[in-house]
């Protein structure tokens, strides 16, 4: 009788502690952000208001935030797949760019009805991203080159290649644009190959939002409930056991790597066809750090698929909200600092809990001596 309530109370006080810790860290992040904002000579409340207005509150804003959430979630879910198998793919920015470039290339060259072209374009994005991560995966399993290095370095290769493509008509450059024109852009997507937009309460966002949620849920389910996810996990934790029980490390690793890059490529194709970025065109600097931020989303989601959606939305809000900062007259880069502080605020509590637990055990032991 007596043990049950005690255990329950213990669990409840532990939960309280966790909640307080997260709240404390979030508060700390807010205070430090506030101080930094004050230091650059702006008023904290106007900045906070601008961020909130810009991301969700003002009419039509949360639709735009959802538009940014979509590619972030895609990059993050891809990252989770490669992490599960024990690989470190940090080249999503490049995979996204190559995916977007592939999508752009096919968008104006494939004949046929709009919806068909749209599907081809999205598929091309997946293929492009998968190709780029596949390069790193191939090097990893055939030549033992660490994928941490190759994925990262291939980002620069990708951005230079795309830059090259944007200078040449036969690749990506808009046929109308003249060489020497300072705006190197691709031809705009014809209206019927763009993703339809859903309008809701004065906000609108591309239907890829629905697709993205479905994909995140599907991947989460597949990782935990299918043989594919099971084998991926076994390889990620113990390669020798995997090998003995007939699970090929290189096959699973390659599949995970291709899927991971494929999702980054899809993110790029969604950005191109969705309309929230660069007005349905490929431009230089198209990826606007979505690949990097997506990595952060996966990090704070702690590799849980379900946490990806809210986390992606939070990071998207910061980005769209920062657009409104211009009106307050302060540097919009401040949001980068805030973003970093949020990442810290979400990553610190688990670390603090771990250290606290050890220290408590030690202190308890000391007091007994």
């Amino acid at each position: 009788m007596s043990a049950q309530p005690t255990a329950e109370r213990g669990a409840r006080s532990r939960l309280m502690e966790v909640v307080l810790l997260y709240a404390g860290c979030a508060l700390g992040a807010l205070v430090i952000s506030g101080l930094i904002v004050e230091a650059v000579g702006a008023d904290w409340s106007t900045v906070g208001g601008a961020l909130l207005n810009g991301s969700v509150l003002k009419p039509g804003r949360w639709g735009g935030t959802i538009g940014v959430t979509i590619p972030l979630a895609m990059v993050a879910i891809g990252t989770i797949i490669s992490t599960k198998v024990g690989l470190v793919n940090i080249g999503q920015e490049g995979q996204l760019l190559v995916g977007a470039a592939f999508a752009t290339y096919f968008s104006t060259r494939v004949p046929g009805p709009g919806p068909f072209v749209l599907i081809v374009v999205l598929a091309a994005g997946v293929v492009g991203g998968a190709l780029w991560s596949g390069l790193a995966g191939g090097l990893r399993y055939w030549r033992k080159v660490p994928e941490v290095l190759t994925t990262l370095l291939l980002v620069s290769v990708a951005s230079n290649l795309v830059g090259y493509g944007l200078k040449h008509h036969w690749l990506l450059l808009d046929a109308e644009a003249k060489l020497g024109n300072r705006n190197l852009v691709s031809e705009q997507l014809p209206p019927d190959t763009r993703l339809p937009r859903i309008t809701m309460w004065g906000n609108d966002f591309p239907i890829s939002a629905v697709l993205a949620v479905c994909l995140v849920l599907l991947v989460g389910w597949m990782l935990s409930r299918t043989l594919w996810g099971y084998r991926l996990t076994v390889v990620g934790h113990n390669r020798k056991v995997a090998r003995r029980f007939g699970i090929s490390e290189s096959a699973q690793g390659m599949i995970a790597m291709l899927a991971s890059g494929g999702f980054a490529g899809l993110a790029g194709a969604f950005m191109l066809t969705g309309g929230d970025f660069a007005n349905y065109r490929m431009v230089s600097g198209f990826s606007v750090s979505i690949g990097w931020v997506g990595l952060l989303v996966a990090l704070v989601a702690n590799n849980r698929a379900l946490a990806v959606i809210p986390m992606a939305f939070v990071f998207a809000s910061l980005r769209t909200g920062s657009g409104f900062l211009a009106s307050t007259g302060i540097e919009r880069r401040v949001t980068d600092v805030v973003q970093g502080l949020i990442v810290l605020a979400l990553l610190l509590p688990p670390a603090i809990m771990f250290i606290g637990e050890r220290r408590r055990a030690l202190a308890a032991a000391r007091s007994r001596v």
């Binding site: 099971y230 003995r244 001596v369």
Partner: protein, 465 residues
Amino acid sequence: MKMLIGLVVPDSGSIFVDGASVRIADPVAAASLGIGMVHQHFSLVEALTVWENVALGDSGRLSQTGVRNAVGELSERYGLRIDPDARVADLPVGLRQRVEILKCLRREPDILIFDEPTSVLTPEESEDLFHSLRGVVEQEGRSVALVSHKLTEMLEVTDRVTIMRNGLVVDRYMTADADAGMLARAMVGRDVRLRSTEVSEAIPDMHAGDDGATPGVDGPVLEFRKIEVREPGGSMELDDLTFSLKPGEILGLAGVEGNGQRVIADLLSGLRRPSSGEILVDGVEVDVSQAGAALRAGIAVIPEDRHDSGIVLEMSVAENLMLSDQSGMATRGIINGAALAVAASDLIDRFSIMCTGPDALMWTLSGGNQQRVVLAREITADPAVLVAAQPTRGLDVGAIEYMTDQLRRVARSGVGILLISSELDEILELADRIVVVFMGQVTGEMARSEANREKIGRLMGGDLL
């Protein structure tokens, strides 16, 4: 033990060193009191050399020659021969323990604690170790505490014995007054059949089982033909190794640790590939370099180091149990969670695995129960061959009894068992036939009835029959 070296602090009670009550709050305090410990699980840095490992924890300038000379001098004095420049990763378990012992001895402790030191040593190595421990006690006046569950060891080398069960001292003897039966009864709290008495009983029983289980099957179930394995560096790990295993037979593979046993187990687990030669299961050649090929051919393995290649610690008991039959637990690639839970619960009951349920994560289980998960999975995979590598290492008397019973039962059902063990007692007790390996070669082969300690000992040392 953890209290003595300051990892755990007692809730109440006192510890006395040299008659004075002491507080041991952390390992540093323990070291300053002159308490040193050799753990059962080593704390060595594999990438470093022997002398570098011995020097770990030193402060100030590192003198390579100084440490290396100290290692040489210590290994000379205590008869623990070792090359100070060898990389620990390249050493077999027995030699790694030497490094651990040298590390401890160099700090000149007054009190030495050994946790299961012989679990990784050969009989000769154990004897050497105990010989040098005697010297430490008699000539240098140090005290040695030996923690072990091997009765013979206790009876042969100790002066006094304290028996503990579930954290309580159940008995104390002067060793001279004790015998194996008394110790065993006190340890398990019930009568266990002792190994030495069982050997004689087991032989006729096993041969009867052998004849009955395999009518009409003459061919070997597992065959090694001229297997060679070369190390990446070029030296030979297995050299022209040939042996065969019949269905229903327990073949004991005896040898000093590090003479190719691990490579044989790795080959049969599909973790390494032979440079030349053939491995046949039921007369059909198996390409073990293909992932899972050995498993599909019907080779089950209880690995020497289960954390390394037997289980996935971060996954659940049920997920570990389904490794050998992954597709059987899924329809169209979707894991059938309910069926898996039922199957796992059934195995948990049948093999009396102590855990909170099929969803318990593997690392929450004790070593003995992890071993039962491995056993349950490998036996129920319906194998033709079961490779048991050091199956009772680190287990207590009750668990050893359980394991040996299970192995006998499996053999009686017609499975060929390859028992790889560095414990001669275990081999003499269980095996029908014994193969001795030395430097990756077979130096002798005999039926159990022709075997005796001296003969096997000579072969283990490299003498050819």
